[in-house]
Subunit: 315 residues, 2 copies
């Protein structure tokens, strides 16, 4: 590997001067600069970011903690994070946890060891306080769709309360009174916030009752699209028809939700945008040397498609 020293030697200048050229310092004389640049090209020199990181006490690395790698929504979030990070010269270290506390702890330790300048958390296992480990070391962190309460945290979240109000209203208008909720399968911290938002919304509608999934709800609201789509699968395999017998509502609006075979009524939530926003927040905090301590709530939009219909096929 060619180093800054090799370049200096070839250009017959000191390391300081090469460094000045690399970092675009104004101070270098044009002729010297030209010589150095020629040497860089000739040797095909790429600065060693590891060395720079050590010296500057910054790694230019963002950690991304993902509870469920295979969820397409998180793929969108990751895509957004990565795009913004790249533009800012940051790399993204991906850390899947599968919501397993042991893996999660190992991943956070690895992120600390690698001196990640900031961390974005897409989900934490139940009862985890790993975000505090990070915060106490001065690492800015933003939670996307995961919100352990801590004022130092940055938060990017969907407006679940409003979303669930829209969902319940929609179902109510279709005549549904027996509603069920399909929770998500991971033991995730704060993973019941959508459930609670749903319950609150249902409580505020006269005549609406919330029943377990196996006690014949006429409509099922799911924690996310993946779960909604799995519900459709389960219902139809059990001989029920969607939406004729049971209506189903998702959350996220993943690309597949608009598919002709699925046509899922859902709440739109732009994962890529959320990822971009999360990255921006954490990047700003890094620049300012502070915690994020900001909350960004993404507005909710109900997208009505064909997975919801009038109760009992009437109407």
């Amino acid at each position: 590997m060619v180093t800054l020293n090799d370049v200096a030697r070839l250009a017959s200048v000191s390391k300081s001067t090469v460094s000045n050229v690399i970092r675009g310092s104004e101070v270098v004389a044009p002729a010297t600069r030209a010589r150095v640049e020629a040497a860089i090209r000739e040797l095909n020199y790429q600065p060693n970011v590891v060395a720079r990181a050590l010296r500057e006490r910054t790694s230019k690395i963002l950690g991304l903690l993902v509870p469920e790698a295979v969820n397409p929504f998180f793929a969108q979030v990751a895509h957004g994070v990565e795009g913004r990070a790249r533009l800012a010269g940051y790399g993204v270290l991906i850390a899947n946890t599968d919501c397993d506390p042991a893996i999660e702890a190992a991943q956070v330790a690895a992120l600390v060891s690698r001196r990640a300048d900031g961390v974005i958390i897409g989900g934490l296992s139940e009862g985890s306080s790993l975000h505090e480990t990070l915060l106490e070391r001065g690492v800015p962190v933003v939670c996307a769709y995961a919100a352990p309460p801590d004022p130092r945290l940055g938060i990017v979240d969907s407006d679940d309360v409003r979303a669930m109000r829209l969902v319940v209203e929609h179902l109510y208008d279709l005549g549904h009174r027996r509603l069920g909720f399909a929770r998500h399968t991971l033991a995730e911290a704060g993973g019941e916030r959508r459930l609670h938002a749903f319950l609150d919304a249902a409580r505020n509608r006269d005549g609406v009752v919330v029943v377990p999934l196996d006690e014949g709800p006429t409509a099922i609201v799911a924690h996310n699209d993946d779960i909604a789509i799995a519900q459709i699968d389960a219902l139809e395999r059990a001989g029920q028809r969607v939406p004729e017998d049971v209506s189903v509502v998702g959350f996220d609006d993943i690309p597949l939700a608009a598919h002709h075979r699925i046509e899922l009524t859902t709440v739109r939530s732009d994962g890529t945008r959320a990822g971009e926003r999360a990255a921006d927040l954490v990047l700003e905090a890094i620049r300012d040397g502070r915690h994020v301590a900001q909350t960004d709530i993404i507005p909710a939009h109900l997208i009505v498609r064909a997975s919801t219909g009038p109760v009992n096929g009437r109407g």
Copy 2:
């Protein structure tokens, strides 16, 4: 941030001794070791991997170049890579390229700058020679489902030739003679290998002709499941029925393919396993200080579901 020096001071030993304890050297006296370990705990010390990386001339980082972040199959591959990397103490830097040559070049430069010890390429843009940039710098690289020809490369690939033979045979047996192929949308290097395997298989079946998609094939074979599912969407929106009017075959067997509403006939290809295998290959090469130079072909299995049926609904 607490450093090795802080630990040394608190334990009243030298940095060398702390380093020996951390790295589990046998040489340290039990009493000394205990004192150092107590100090580590008390200070909550985490070694700085950046410093270690600089000294050891290894970053313990794997780069993962992904052409299409939102493809669920690549999410599986990434999951597999990440899992194996973690077990080996490596971090995974994710680099989306969206198959854009400019982004791709920037990502490879970033990976070089960060001194990634190895790189896994999930896809390269057409005409790209970026893998050579890496190889020439001595970085082992394995291509997963992307195979520019270079003997130094590691390759993990599906057995497209056998797969397409099975697919064509299956369709032939159902009476299909007019077949079409839905290519993938990215300008990816080697992205036509499945197409060519398909064309070869079709050529070897008497009476079979390959026609453009808009010239009424009775069966469509797609480059991957995502594209197959999009084809079903397009066909049905255009008033055609699958499989009554047109049969559709995918490739990958993403989780959704088994969904009751989709029931896609497809070729199984375990993305997580492929990712794990790719990581193992590159990790071994790093350990041995050599290029990978190995090929691993994953056997093909045809999974017949309901998206294929007899031609013209007969039978």
